[in-house]
């Protein structure tokens, strides 16, 4: 099969966390020039610097993750609340704001946001985490429709139950309560990281040009 991202320049943020490793591996295997990014994007200037240094960017994989602390809403401090938005929401806007102008001027570009199904379905105790994930998805819908007029595709994957080094670590998967938790998932298994990356590849590639501002649940039937 010919490479599906041959010659494309791709930024993957938080390249060591969440879906970063799976995305870098899949995109590189498909011929992309991957820029695996690891800087702290909480710094207000960081996203702009990153995009400036990257130069020509065909694809942005906005992979932003902060571990859920599992506090019930009454126990979520202002600091925890702000931390979720500082890690996952504000950098999302800054990244997209920085990369959109060049994509719009070329009338071509793909932005894939690696979001969470926690932004779609209520689960306790995840108020702060889920609110930030929900903000990501609503942002994608609105910015996605806006960017459509410039032929730039912004879409999001809302995943859950997917193997990754941040939220489904080997320790979590090996825990005694995990089989019980997995009973909520119709598919009855975790997704491999590459399966989520394959959906990201579809959304980053040339076959998805008609999708704008759309959320793709990816959760083994947990969220239909």
């Amino acid at each position: 099969m010919p490479k599906r991202l041959g010659g494309k320049r791709v930024i993957v943020t938080q390249a060591q966390d969440f879906m970063g490793p799976a995305l870098c591996e899949m995109f590189a295997a498909e011929g992309a020039h991957v820029i695996p990014e690891t800087r702290d994007l909480r710094e207000p200037a960081a996203a702009g610097e990153l995009v400036r240094e990257a130069g020509h960017v065909d694809i942005l994989a906005a992979n932003l993750m902060q571990r859920n602390r599992r506090n019930p809403a009454p126990l979520v401090s202002d600091e925890e609340w702000a931390d979720m938005f500082d890690m996952m929401v504000h950098p999302l806007h800054r990244l997209i704001r920085a990369v959109l102008p060049q994509m719009m001027s070329r009338r071509k570009g793909k932005i894939v946001v690696m979001g969470s199904a926690n932004g779609l379905r209520g689960t306790a105790p995840r108020a702060a985490y889920s609110a930030a994930r929900g903000a990501q998805l609503t942002y994608v819908k609105t910015a996605g429709v806006e960017a459509a007029t410039h032929n730039v595709n912004i879409n999001a994957i809302a995943q859950n139950w997917t193997t990754n080094p941040t939220s489904f670590t080997p320790e979590i998967v090996a825990a005694a309560d995990f089989p019980e938790r997995l009973r909520e998932v119709p598919m009855g298994r975790l997704a491999y990281g590459w399966e989520s990356a394959a959906l990201a590849l579809y959304l980053a590639g040339d076959e998805s040009d008609f999708f704008f501002g759309q959320i793709f649940p990816f959760a083994g039937g947990w969220q239909t």
């Binding site: 819908k141 429709v145 399966e195 076959e207 008609f210 704008f212 759309q214 039937g221 239909t224």
Partner: protein, 224 residues
């Protein structure tokens, strides 16, 4: 790109209508053994006969259409109502019912229901058509979750503004009515049939095993 369906046997119903022609040609290019079927599926035994005649079926594409019946709700007769469900809803269940046992037994199979965004966003004069398309989506969600533990994936699309001989034929594509409607579409254009078929291919192919019971709009941002 080729061979994504190599060695797979795929049934495509109503092969001359709606998304049939584009799905058949793309699947053939991707190496599938395609059973392009054009029998009248309104007969209660037709779906069973089709599946029996086909033998091993890895992929079932439920492509069912009825020329867009526009009618006000209070003027829709029982006959009109029934004719829509008989054409696009009841055959869907019979097809899926006939295909599932062998897929469950092999713990492998993909069913894609090619649906309509008329079920995702209200439009005038389409209460009957929209209800029938909505029945398809609700069915896909429930069956999708039901058969997920057997590693069979059932998913649906909800498309609109896609070139196809049934709903967006060449003559209509040139009309002023369509130009007016396109103003509502963030994409600002129609999708080609081939682009839409590529998404069906993703759902029928080997990279989407973790998606089940999912309904995906395919509408250029119109449903966002």
């Amino acid at each position: 790109m080729a061979d994504r369906l190599k060695g797979k046997r795929a049934i495509v119903t109503e092969c001359h209508d709606f998304m049939g022609p584009d799905i058949v040609s793309l699947f053939l290019e991707e190496g599938a053994d395609v059973i392009a079927d054009d029998r009248d599926l309104r007969k209660p035994e037709a779906a069973d006969e089709l599946l029996r005649g086909a033998g091993r079926t890895d992929i079932l594409i439920v492509n069912l259409s009825i020329p867009n019946p526009r009618a006000l709700a209070h003027e829709t007769t029982d006959e009109q109502w029934a004719s829509v469900f008989e054409k696009i809803v009841h055959p869907m269940h019979r097809l899926v019912r006939a295909a599932l046992p062998q897929m469950i037994e092999r713990r492998s199979g993909k069913i894609v229901i090619v649906g309509s965004a008329a079920a995702l966003r209200g439009t005038m004069n389409r209460s009957c058509y929209g209800a029938a398309r909505g029945a398809q989506h609700a069915y896909a969600k429930c069956v999708g979750v039901e058969v997920a533990p057997h590693n069979v994936q059932v998913n649906a699309t909800g498309q609109i503004f896609v070139e196809n001989p049934t709903y967006f034929p060449p003559d209509y594509v040139k009309s002023d009515d369509l130009k007016q409607r396109l103003k509502e579409v963030p994409a600002g254009r129609l999708s080609t049939g081939r682009e839409a078929a590529a998404f069906v291919l993703f759902l029928a192919g080997p990279e989407s095993d973790f998606l089940c019971g999912q309904v995906f709009a395919y509408a250029g941002g119109w449903t966002v």
